[in-house]
Amino acid sequence: MVDMTCREFLEYVDLDRERIWCPGCTIGLMFKQIAKAMTELRIEKKDVVAVSGIGCTGRTAGYCSFDSVHTLHGRAIAVSEGIKLANSNLKVLVISGDGDLIGIGGNHLLHAARRNTNITVICNNNEIYGLTGGQVSPETQTGVETITTPYGNPYPQINVLGVLKSNKKFFYARSTPMHLEHLKNVVKKAIAWDGFAFVEVKSYCIENSGRRQGFKNSYDMLQTLKKYKIVGEKDDLNEDEIGIAKREG
């Protein structure tokens, strides 16, 4: 298929604003795939709102060329639920980090998923609190050294898919910035899903986590994402699989 969207996606991006992201960060790649998904879905700018929390990923809303809200740390989903209840015609895309959505904002995630609020949540899971300097997140892998777990993280990661699956109806997708076409396609399906959709983008943070773990550069970290195998749509995903798990309910 010919890629019709090679430059069209820029329509959704404000190119004038100075990016805060470090060289080698993958948030921009993710944002680009989201914009491409929007292009292919022919979403009109007046029909969509981006909502972010606080963090490196939380700055994404500020780079959209359509209406967007940069909320408090952890509150993007709560604000989105208010937006959606007030105007159900708006498509709401939440784009934020793992600490924001799964840590401090975890309660809203739990309840928005239970209520099956019709929003799309895209989580850049870099497994760290990036913006604040690399503290442990609920998504940091066990054993990993961070600035607040200098002897290794003693705790396991949250199983977001497991949390979502406890609901009758759910949509969960996993992808990575190593698998760009796949990422775009699952975002498209998540946006088209009627109900609460969660996309977990497995990524990394070179500056505030990778270097502490001994990685020399972003390229080496990117290679770690090669371990994921693309599978289709299933009831469940294994840890090393990327794809979609969903239930119509």
Binding site: R17, K46, D47, V48, V49, V51, A61, G62, C64, D67, S68, V69, H70, T71, L72, G74, R75, A78, V79, S80, E81, G82, I83, K84, L85, A86, N87, N89, L90, N107, H108, L110, H111
Partner: protein
């Protein structure tokens, strides 16, 4: 004529003001507001997972273009404080009701108090200039809820309606249809209409700029002026001057109700606009008297602010422990008579 409760009048006021969204989390003595509004078919209503969600949902709804409200009591108000600060910085109009109970912590569940006066003024982080009204009768609950919505639209900020468990639970026969009011409609753009980027970062026209001290100073000056100018249109108070006395009582909410029994021997100033404090009006009333007495259900929170604007010594009658008894207030007033005038 209708026999209704303060909390119900607040709910009716919100509906009359055109509120279309309510989010809240249960807490006595504020819950009747959500019980009442849960039945209102013309609004979107949500019993949220906590007060943090409640305030943030209200922020989202307001940005989407509808008038929004949440209500709580002290503990929930504390949880909402970060959101209230956000709404000031990001200019989100909404109404937050706080029907006060004894604190700190869980306090004396769920006896009335007025201990959140300073929380309203200073509870969020950073500098901001909140507008707050405090009704003391059931019909005032109705009227000032409507005015709180108007002030919110006028100032593009979260306006606080303070109440106490007494006034919130007070039943009175009222004729709400007699209340005269005008409604301010939404002037701010909505999400989807080209609102742009909303953020609580220091910004210039939606573009974050977080390292420029002069921009911050400029921002704060503008915010201060905006809040001041908006509040000017809402100078609500009652001043009952007794020409035969040099003693002035200043009281609000339930304490103003109790104090109204003593106007044969005292003048009474009842501020409804608690914040910004009615400096000129209070200073003028204070000038006309020698003894200024503030009656409040806390350890003297508003007294200190009044003293600074009255520029006179202020005596405080603190009514503590969740119960107000006119006989005890009278005793305290009598005891003050023995003290020298300022």
């Amino acid at each position: 004529m209708k026999l209704i409760q303060g909390n119900e009048a607040i709910s009716e006021g919100a509906l009359a003001a055109g509120m279309k969204f309510y989010s809240g989390y249960p807490i006595t003595p504020a819950s009747e507001i959500m019980h009442y509004l849960a039945k209102a078919k013309q609004i979107q209503f949500i019993n949220s997972e906590d007060e943090i969600a409640a305030i943030n949902m209200a922020i989202g709804a307001s940005l989407a273009g509808v008038k929004a409200m949440t209500a709580t009591s002290g503990p929930g108000m504390s949880l909402m404080q970060e959101g209230i600060g956000y709404a000031h910085m990001a200019e989100v109009p909404l109404v937050v009701v706080n029907v006060q109970r004894v604190g700190p912590g869980t306090g004396m569940p769920t006896m009335p108090a007025q201990g959140d006066v300073m929380q309203v003024k200073y509870g969020s982080h950073g500098d901001y200039f909140p507008i707050c009204f405090y009704p003391s009768t059931v019909s005032e609950c109705y009227k000032y809820t409507i005015e709180a919505f108007n002030a919110a639209e006028e100032s593009l900020s979260p306006v606080i309606l303070l109440c106490d468990g007494y006034v919130g639970h007070l039943y009175e026969t009222v004729k709400l249809s007699e209340t005269k009011f005008e409604l301010k409609t939404r002037a701010k753009k909505k999400l989807g209409e080209g609102l742009g980027h909303t953020t609580s970062l220091l910004n210039k026209n939606g573009v974050p700029n977080t390292k420029d001290p002069s921009l911050y100073e400029e921002y704060l000056e503008r915010a201060k002026k905006k809040m001041h100018d908006a509040a000017e249109k809402y100078k609500f108070y009652e001043y009952t001057k007794n020409e035969n006395t040099r003693d002035l009582i200043i009281a609000y909410g339930i304490c103003a109700r109790v104090a109204s029994a003593f106007t044969d021997k005292y003048s009474l100033f009842k501020p409804v606009r608690m914040f910004p404090i009615l400096s000129e009006e209070i200073e003028k009333a204070a000038k006309e008297h020698d003894r200024i007495i503030v009656i409040e259900m806390n350890a003297g929170q508003y007294s200190r602010m009044i003293q600074s604007v009255a520029k006179k010594t202020v005596h405080t009658i603190s009514v503590l422990g969740g119960t107000i008894k006119p006989s005890k207030v009278k005793q305290a007033l009598d005891a003050l008579k023995q003290q020298p005038r300022s």
